[in-house]
């Protein structure tokens, strides 16, 4: 399928789902749970562009998510910016930081790169905790005023619709990356960076594209978060859950294909929502850990790899 048709179908599906559920479902809990699951679709898809396609494990997803969230807070404090502007700026800030982090750390490989991303998240966390303008450790309020736009009954419904569109967009971008010449080059880097460079792949440049796109999409997911919760504080935004889930979901779904993180996020994110309501949120990370152990031993290439036994890969055709 062509990229443009796929993108159109993805976006239309998102609109359709958002439209029909808004008309039929009245319980706001449904929208807030679905919002959270779709937020993980974006995060997992974004993580996978760098982690799955390119082979660089990022432990700092929470930091990029937080960059998006806090850039919205800053814009709201400055002039109560409209949400579209917040999304754009959250994406841009996180993308720029992704580029910068790429420059500083991409000469590191494997576990050293992973540790650098972890350190980066820690540094950013410390910075935010000490930044009074955005509320420091106390956190900040962002309250949407007036009536929900576009005829939505509640702000949660509205935000769910936006997140559905962003998820569709992120998935379309990931699929586009995977099926382009760029994706083939990224796969070469993942398999053997020296051999890739010796086959003409400009590895540094491609890795920077990868960190930028991956970081930007994570920031996008975070940009609507303050509106969703109305109140954010650093411990919530930098939660371990984001770093762990954005790695676990692609791992469980399959990292070599754009569909893997989507499947993983829907499955794991959905299960976590169910668990949270019926048991307790404290069990969420336990669930992730248990599933990870199962998958790493039984299906190391995730659900996608298990379904398509022959090991799928970046395949631009």
């Amino acid at each position: 399928m062509k990229t443009s048709s796929f993108t159109a179908i993805a976006l239309c599906t998102a609109l359709l789902v958002a439209g029909t559920t808004s008309a039929l479902v009245t319980n706001d809990y449904f929208f807030s749970a679905s919002y959270t699951v779709l937020q993980f679709v974006v995060l997992a898809t974004a993580w996978n562009i760098l982690g799955g396609f390119t082979g660089y494990v990022n432990f700092g997803s929470a930091a990029f998510f937080a960059l998006g969230a806090y850039s919205s807070i800053v814009l709201d404090k400055l002039f109560e910016a409209p949400i579209t502007l917040s999304i754009l700026s959250g994406t841009a800030v996180a993308a720029l930081v992704g580029l910068g982090m790429g420059y500083l750390t991409l000469r590191l490989r494997g576990v050293f790169f992973a540790i650098a991303t972890l350190a980066f998240a820690e540094v950013l966390f410390t910075f935010v905790v000490n930044w009074d303008y955005v509320g420091g450790a106390r956190g900040a309020y962002v309250v949407l005023q007036g009536r929900p736009p576009l005829g939505f009954r509640s702000f949660v419904q509205f935000l769910f619709a936006i997140m559905a569109l962003m998820a569709a967009g992120a998935v379309a971008i990931a699929r586009f990356v995977q099926t382009s010449t760029l994706g083939l080059g990224l796969a070469a880097i993942r398999d053997d960076e020296v051999a890739a460079e010796c086959s003409g792949v400009p590895t540094l440049r491609l890795k920077l594209v990868s960190t930028t796109v991956s970081g930007g999409l994570m920031g996008m997911a975070g940009a609507t978060f303050p509106y969703f919760l109305s109140y954010v504080e650093p411990h919530g935004v930098f939660s371990l859950s984001y770093a762990v889930n954005s790695i676990a979901m692609p791992l469980i779904g399959g990292m070599y294909d754009w569909a893997g993180p989507v499947i993983g996020a829907l499955l794991l994110g959905g299960l976590q929502q169910v668990l949270q309501v019926n048991v307790s949120a404290d069990w969420n990370l336990f669930l992730v850990g248990a599933l990870l152990v199962v998958f790493v031993t039984i299906a190391p290439h995730g659900i996608m790899g298990w379904t398509f036994r022959r090991g799928r890969r970046a395949r631009p055709t």
């Binding site: 990229t3 099926t179 382009s180 010449t181 760029l182 083939l184 080059g185 796969a187 070469a188 993942r190 398999d191 053997d192 020296v194 051999a195 890739a196 460079e197 010796c198 086959s199 003409g200 792949v201 400009p202 590895t203 540094l204 491609l206 594209v209 070599y256 022959r310 090991g311 890969r313 970046a314 395949r315 631009p316 055709t317």
Partner: protein, 244 residues
């Protein structure tokens, strides 16, 4: 040598205190076939790495009129320097065919990154695979290949970049006599296309059959360089290499 394709002068490389290359000169003319021999650990692969850019050493290397010093490996292969790895390094998650599409898209033609290739390179990839006898395995994952097939893939991938100089680092190791003949035939054919080849090889029979010129490295120094008859009769070579 004027008009030479590759001119390496005083190439040095140290690993810590160990001198792997102690100032090596090597020139290769367009379409020339050079055999590079030397005992284990004499610095042959290190010299290849310096030329390909995967290792940074001292001295100067010019290729096709370009100073290579500032160029990363991917720029060097685009100029026309292809190498096969002594220990095969296939793109393990990809099929054999896709392994070739990488250099075809990234080195042979500068393909726009944000496009799907329309698959025109597939045709060429298949024809290169046919040459090295891997066509039937085009759809296999490269990590499932035998060692011998991985060597053929190394060579095929190097050829796919449209090189002017191909450095084959022990491409024949482990091959049967008939397979050696096959690969040698392919390498000899490169001359017809004006491609220069440096063949690094321990098997003297193959080196002698292939090379127009032989250079000998011993502990990081070149001790002889010239036509096969002269080099092999050189007493220094006999002492240091053949006589051992």
């Amino acid at each position: 040598m004027s008009g030479a394709l590759l001119v390496a002068k005083g190439v040095t490389k140290r690993f810590g205190g160990f001198v792997a290359l102690g100032g090596v000169d090597l020139s290769v003319g367009a379409g020339e076939r050079v055999g590079l021999i030397g005992p284990n650990g004499s610095g042959k692969s290190t010299l290849v790495n310096c030329i390909a850019g995967t290792v940074r050493g001292g001295g100067s290397i010019e290729f096709d009129g370009h100073d290579l010093a500032p160029l990363p490996p991917h720029r060097r292969i685009r100029l026309g320097i292809a190498r096969s790895f002594q220990i095969p390094r296939p793109f393990a998650s990809m099929t054999v065919l896709d392994n070739l599409r990488i250099p075809l898209l990234y080195a042979a033609r500068a393909h726009p990154l944000l496009q799907r290739s329309r698959g025109r390179e597939t045709e060429e990839a298949l024809s290169i695979l046919r040459q090295v006898g891997l066509e039937a395995k085009a759809g296999r994952l490269s990590r499932e290949l035998t060692q011998v097939d991985m060597r053929k893939l190394e060579l095929a991938r190097a050829i796919a970049s449209h090189p002017k100089l191909l450095v084959a680092d022990e491409a024949l190791a482990g091959l049967s006599a008939s397979e050696v003949d096959e690969i040698l035939a392919i390498l000899l054919e490169m001359k017809g296309r004006g491609v220069a080849v440096i063949l690094i090889e321990h098997m003297m029979r193959a080196v002698l059959r292939f090379s127009e010129r032989i250079a000998v490295l011993v502990v990081g120094r070149k001790i002889a360089d010239g036509p096969a008859e002269t080099v092999l009769r050189d007493p220094a070579v006999e002492r240091a290499y053949l006589g051992q």
